[in-house]
Structure formats: C-alpha cells, structure tokens
Symmetry: C2
Subunit: 519 residues, 2 copies
C-alpha cells in the first residue's frame, strides 16, 4: 500500500520499516548513511542503538529477532561494513533469523568512479542474503523496504540485504509503504504426518529430531506428548531458541561429536525430522562419516526450517492419539562440588539464582554443555545457541536479546577466545544500561581446538602449534578490559566468589561481567 506524500528515499525506507513494525536499529553508520541516520533521528518508533563494530550490530539484530519473532534493522557502511558484520549474519542465516541489513552505498553516479570505499557489495552480500536488492531509484525506496521486511520472513526466515545508494537516500520522490502481508511458515502435508504415524503405530522404533518453533513453550508440550507416545524427542545440537527450565519438557540433545551422535541414533528404525534437515557432522575428520544417520535407520522429513514445527509435532501427537501433556517431575537443583569452580558448578549456581524469564545467550564453546545440563532445573528461561559456528556471537546476541526484553535478565556465556572477537559489545551494554551478565570462561586457550587438534590427527604439537591455540602470555584481564568500556567486572576463582558476584549482578541493574577462571 503506497501513501501519497513524497518524501526522501531515506525517510521512505525508515518510515516504511516502522510501518511494518520494525522497532530497533543496530547501527554503525558512515558518511554514506548520514541521511538514513537523519531519518532514524526523526522516527520515534525505532530505537537506534550505536554499536562500535558491525559484528556487534548484526549479532544484536539476531538476538533481538530471536526474542521478538520479527526483524531488527542494521545500518552498515558499504562493502567493508557488511564484511565486518558478515560472520554474525552467517550465524543468523543458520538460525533462520529474520534480519534486515540496510547497507549504505555510494551514490549511483559515483559507483562507476571506483572510489576507495567502492566494492562489489552485491557480490559480497549475496551468499548470506535470502533476498537482496539495491534501491537505485528513489521512487522504489519505500516499496523495497517493505519488500525486504516481507522477504526476511522467508519461509524460512533469514537475513536480507537492502543496498541504499546515498543519492537515493537524499533525493525526494519516494513514498511510505506498508507491506501487504507477513508471510507465515509452511505447513507440512497431512500425508507425511499420517505416514509417519502409521509407521510408528506399526511398531517402528522412532525418534524425531526437532528444531524451530517446536522448541518454544507450546511446541514443547506437543513434544512431551510424542515422548509419552514412545517417540524419542531429540533437538539439533545448536538451536536458535529453546524454552527450558523447571516444569518444561527437556528433549535429548544431539551430541556434537559425530561418533557420539551416530551412536545415539543407533537402534532406531525411523528418524523423523521436523523444522530441521538430516543431521550432519559439524566438521569432517579423517575416517569419520559426515552424515549422522546410521545405516539402517530410515529418515523421513516432516518439513524443514521453512515449516511450523510446533504445529507439525502437535499434529503428529494427535495422529498418534498421544495422551495430553503432563508436566515433567521437578528434577531438583543439581548437585555440584562447591570446591571446584568449573562450567558445571557455574551452571548449578545459575540454576539456583536466575529469575524466571532470563534469556541465556550461549557462545561458551567447551563450557556450554555442562552449564546447559546443569540449568535444566532452573527457573523457566530461554536458551539461545550459536547456530553457525562462527564464534564471537554471544556478547552481541545478548545486546539484542536485552533490547528486546528490557524487563528480563540476560546471561551471556562466552569463551575467552569467542568473547575477544566482539568485545566492543560491552560498550553498547554500558551505554544502553542493559541488564546483561556476561560470564566469560577464562581458560586462556582456544580449548576446543586443543580437542580438535587430536581428533583431526594433526600430529605432535610443537611450540608454534601450542602458541596458535593458546590465549595465555599475556593473560587477558577481562574485568579491566570491561571497565575500560564502562562495564563493572570481577574475576572469580571459587564457587563462593562466583555466587557472590552473580547475586550482586542480579541485584544491581545494568551490565556486569564475571570472568570465571577455570583450569
């Protein structure tokens, strides 16, 4: 739907996105985006948040949309700005997160001059964009913004790129648009669900691998019914968002390492897939299969990430005549050894303290799984995992989740190696006063690589190899670095110290950092 009053291209884009319902922009602008900043300045419906590196902006947009269900906007400065934000756009693509990347470009007339900042933006942004257009004519600007919004929902949802030449932004002659519709996820055909139900009724030993909406509150209730009907429910190893905590059904989680994943699926006749695809190994290793479904197990898709997996599991539960959901028994607070500060004890202490509605952003790498397991009995919370394997997502994701959920506490779990990639996120937490507790696991190493080194058979490690995997020498003083960016921080070495720091951070509003020194 077009409106009549002609406005500048920048105003048309920003106002159209506001009409669509966009409420947050994570920005790192440059000269070519000044008119877009001006339009944001005059648009009260969109909260503009400055990030000091584009990877923070894109990771934050991912976190925002995972909680909100609709896209945030990023504002990026030409090809290099896109590149800086690219790794977290990759992660968002893997999370099927709607995201609108607004990439400022030179004026159309300036492009052919090959100025220093010119590059092939469409070439760079294409591979990780579900949709990409350039608003080369001012009259198209508002319409393309609305189109970008719609396209970000897919299905499946994902990052889209709208390239915005500077002269389109500053010229007048565009209009504000509102999108005609907001796409909904696809529905799995009845036949596929009935076929699966029939095979299970006929005695197939079955499991269902789920991801997507099936892992939210409502979907999990249907998952619990499936489990009660004899179908093992397993999640992908890394999921965009999962509702967790006391009273909620906790599916199995597919192991990370290929051999363990394959073993966990052995003995099945049938592996159903809902909201995901056939599982594959994260990396290839010599003499290890890449496909994780064992020989003899038949796989059947009930729809990939483009579908509403919550509806799929609910319909399958109905088709199986599964009993209504019962709340799982309370599992009680996990045991831990108070003399050992490690990811498990951190998880156990978090489980005791976090308030309901907490959002956990997980870039904890080797520390993640023990915390994840220990927090099963915590107050109800959401867990947001690293979906694309590009570390450096946690702190930015927490920024975005907190902007989306200002009334909630956000806990970010980060490895020290991962946290260094996008440490600038701490500054945005301080500026915006976000209630984020960043827990950095300091083991002075790319610990995962010490494990992978052996698994890939790379041989005996000498000094150079050791140095390439080690973050010691010098040790990073995380509290000092955080204070430099305006975030109070402490370093802890005992469970008591951690618990005290956690209690303080939960009580005092605003961002906090806790550096957890682990062996």
């Amino acid at each position: 739907m077009g409106q009549d009053q002609p406005v500048s291209g920048a105003e048309a884009v920003i106002a159209s996105l506001a009409e669509c319902g966009v409420t947050a922009c994570f920005a790192n602008p440059g000269t070519s985006e000044m008119h877009l900043v001006g339009a944001l300045d005059r648009e009260p419906r969109i909260r503009s948040v400055l990030c000091l590196f584009e990877g923070v902006a894109t990771g934050a947009a991912d976190g925002f949309a995972r909680m909100e269900g609709s896209p945030a906007l990023t504002l990026l400065h030409l090809g290099p700005g896109y590149l800086n934000g690219g790794a977290n756009i990759h992660n968002a693509r893997r999370a099927h997160t709607p995201m609108i990347n607004l990439i400022g470009d030179h004026a159309v007339s300036h492009r052919s001059l090959d100025a220093p900042l010119a590059s092939d933006i469409a070439g760079l942004a294409g591979p990780n964009s579900r949709w990409m257009k350039s608003a080369d004519r001012v009259q198209d600007a508002g319409r393309l913004a609305a189109e970008a919004y719609v396209a970000s929902f897919g299905p499946p949802p994902g990052p889209v790129s709208l390239i915005m030449p500077a002269d389109t932004a500053w010229s007048r002659g565009s209009s504000v648009f509102r999108p005609s519709h907001r796409p909904r996820p696809a529905q799995t055909p009845d036949g596929a669900i009935e076929d699966a139900a029939r095979r299970i009724r006929n005695g197939a030993r079955a499991a269902i691998l789920v991801n997507g909406s099936a892992l939210k509150e409502e979907g999990l209730r249907a998952c619990a019914r499936l489990q009660a009907a004899g179908v093992r429910v397993i999640t992908d190893t890394f999921v965009p968002r999962q509702a967790r905590g006391a009273g909620r059904f906790a599916p199995e989680r597919l192991p990370y390492f290929a051999e363990a994943a394959i073993k966990s699926l052995e003995g099945l006749d049938l592996l159903l897939l809902a909201g995901t695809r056939a599982p594959v190994a994260f990396f290839a290793y010599p003499d290890t299969p890449g496909r994780l479904i064992p020989e003899g197990v038949s796989a059947a898709s009930l729809g990939g990430p483009e579908t509403d997996s919550a509806a799929t599991v609910a319909r399958l539960a109905e088709a199986l005549g599964a009993p209504p959901p019962v709340a799982p028994p309370a599992s009680g607070a996990p045991e831990f050894d108070a003399s050992k500060l490690n990811p498990h004890s951190v998880g156990a202490l978090l489980a005791r303290r976090i308030p309901e509605g907490t959002v956990v952003c997980d870039d904890g790498v080797t520390a993640s799984l023990p915390v994840f397991m220990a927090m099963e009995s915590a107050a109800q919370h959401d867990w947001l995992a690293l979906t694309g394997g590009a570390i450096g997502m946690g702190l930015p994701l927490a920024v975005g989740a907190s902007v989306a959920r200002p009334a909630s506490k956000v806990v970010c779990l980060s490895g020290d190696g991962a946290g260094m990639y996008t440490n600038q996120a701490l500054w945005t937490m301080a500026r915006e006063g976000l209630d984020v507790i960043s827990i950095v696991f300091v083991n002075n190493a790319y610990r995962i690589l010490n494990i992978e080194w052996a698994r890939t058979g790379a041989g005996e490690a000498g000094q150079t190899a050791h140095d390439m995997l080690s973050l010691g020498a010098p040790e990073i003083d995380w509290p000092q670095m955080a204070k430099g960016m305006g975030v109070p921080g402490v370093s802890v070495e005992t469970t008591e110290q951690f618990d005290t720091a956690l209690a303080h951070a939960l009580e005092e509003p605003g961002p906090h950092l806790i550096a957890v020194r682990i062996p």
Copy 2:
C-alpha cells in the same frame, strides 16, 4: 619446479610458500586448519603470529607486506573467518598490497552436506581477490600455493585467496613447489613519456599525481627533479607508503574534500598520472562533482598502479633534462603552542623525538593531517596510510609493520572510533613484544561524521543522530582497556604529559599506548 617427495597437502602448501620466500603468517585458525597449523609448526622459515580476530590478521599482513615488498600469509577459518578479515583485505586491495589469504574449508566430501559453518567461500572472497583457487585435489596443493604467491604480485599486486579443503590438507600425495618467477611491475611505454615531456617543454602548466614506488626513497629523488623542472608533484590523498622526513622531498598532498581537491588542480593545463588513476571524490555529495580533475585540465596517464612509477618519474625527469636532485632545505622543527594538546602539537612533538627508521601507521582520521604536516621535518620515516577507507586498520597494520621491521619503532595513529574496531591487535603487540606506540586520539566521537553530517545536508541533528555519532557516555578508558590486554597505557591531557609519555615509550622496549584526550 616440483620436488619428488610426496607430502601432505598442508605441508606442501606451507613448504612451497616458505620456498617462495614467505616469512610470516598471521593466523586465527579453527578446526579445519589444524593440519595447516601442524605444517606451520614444522616450518621454521615462517614466523606464526596469533591474532585474536581475523581483521587483525589481515591488517597485519598488509602492514608486513608494505614494509617487506612481498606477501605475508594469513590463516582464516572458512567463510566467517574470511568475512571477519574482509574489511582489511579491502583496504589491502586498495593499497595494492600482495597478500596470500589461506582459507580453510570443509573437506571436499563434506561440502555438499551444508554443515553449520559451510558457506559460499568463493562467492564471499571473490570480489576482493585478485586471484582465487580452491585446492580440491591434494596433488595440486603445492603448485597452487606457488601460483598464489606469484599471482599476489599482479601486476598490480593485491590480495589472493587460496581455499584449502581439510582433506586436501590432511591427505598425502603433494609436492613442494618453487615459483618459476616473481612478476615485476609493468613499464610505461616510451611514447607516453615523450609525449608528456613534449607538452611540458611546449609550455603546458603541468602537475603529476603520483602513487606507488615513486614515493619511496629513490622515486622521491626523481619527483624532486620534476618539481625543479617546473612540474608540480602531488600525491594521492591516501598512499600505501611514503618515505618522509628531513632531507627528503615532500610532494603536495591532494586534499581530501572534493571542492578543495578540485581547487588545487585549477589553472593547470596538464595533469599527468603515474602509479595511480584519475582522482575521484571519496564520497559523493549533493551538487558536488565526483571527478576531481577540473574542466579544461587535460589528463594523461603514465601508467596506473600496475606500473613502476619510480621508473616512470625518473624517465620523465630525464626526458625533460631536469637537473639532478638537490636535498631540500631543512625546514626546522615546527612551531606549536605548548599550552594546547591537539593533533598538531602531537605531530610537532613526534617530529622532535622519533628516531630514524620509524614507521608511522595512520588510521587517525580527522587527527591525521595535522600530524602528517607537523612531521615533515622529523627524522626520516615511512608513512603508511589508510587506503581503502575502512577504519580499524591502524592497530593491525602496526602489528605487521613491526613484525617486518623488528629493529624499528612503529607509531600507530588511531582515532578512538577506528581503534575500537580491531582493539584485539593490542594483545598481539603484547604477546610478541612489539615496539609499537599506539597513539589514540580520544575525542569521544566519530568526528569525521560530525563534519560529513553537515556536508551531506542531512539536516538538523537531534538526540538520536547525536548519539549515533558520539562515543562518549560512557567514555572509553583506553589505558585500562589496553592494560587488560597486556599493553601499558597512559592518558594525557597536556603537551608536557604527552611528551613525557612519548619519551618513556620510545625508551622502554615493547608496546605502549598513549590516549591523547583532545577537544
């Protein structure tokens, strides 16, 4: 030249590059690069330097090659690793820096599985690569590494990408190669030089815009001869490397802003171009031309970046019968107001203190030009500028320049906004004990954008616009952040404090940071 002993693909690549003469690798490896790390571990001819973010690795490779004249290697982790390093690869492309980006990929058999870290690496890396191949067969690995090395020299030189699947790296059956030749820059045809000389002899009011090798020691002597023969010598605004300081010819520098650049070229009949292309505005602005050569000025190319501009200016000087070079008169230390700490006084104090052979890495944005001008009379030094406009290059560039010149002092000039992009470089400076003095100009703003805001006519700035251009609230405490990464730092507010800090930093080996608080 192939050798006979079959080795693994990883060993073939690393040994072939060492045979070529590569001596430094700036690495941020992941699982798919473990065998490459293993090969580096066993290769004493290559110094491996760990960077905690890929943008540091690529910026360092740029700085290394600008000083060394031959490429360094980077080690990047799949598509996201390339993206993280991409902005400084863009800058290197604009500097015509040879650089070999070795991008680990999934095993060939694993690619089709679309694992979480999979992406279209060739699509992402293509736009900023002068050459790109994927070593999909182990027998090709060594040969392709040598080919990548050769390709990085162009002409013109630039970044190249060698994609390295994990199974190529770990499989045996490759050989070590040495390149057949190292390409040399092109030579400008005699006719073009003679034609230019004739026009100048016939009375054309001429200037020559130079970049590339003409700005090194020898080339500058020829530039001085041209100037003595009545040809104005002007450099591009941003140059990869320029020899400067007392006793060296100091060409004019083309102004940054379009209207000033055009004005500076008015009144000419002829603008010659050597080692560069016709100048264009950095950005487009409403109602401002993009091409900087005024109406009525005739432009004539004596060869672009693919040519040896030092040879070109020398041949033109000969053709003009220009007198032999005379050393320029000593200009004396610049005057400055000791009561005002600002970029000019910082430059003047640097000019008094830096030792001969210092390398200046400039990402100082609005602070750069006053320092540049004030340092004309300093001891002889090299100046490395930001060529591609993607801020966040300075600190990484300094890492690489220092690795290439361990006996020299390196001074990095950085804006506070620019420095935040790649602050992780400080950690590598600490780890490697690099003699780098990082001078961060703290004005708590993207100052350049405050200027550009007005120039682009973006209107009246409200609170949101102000916030998007401001780095205050909270102020970044640079010394604290630097200390967190192992670099001692101080904040200074007077010229005396700066001078004391500078003297100390020059005296004490290893990295230092000086935060210069300016209005």
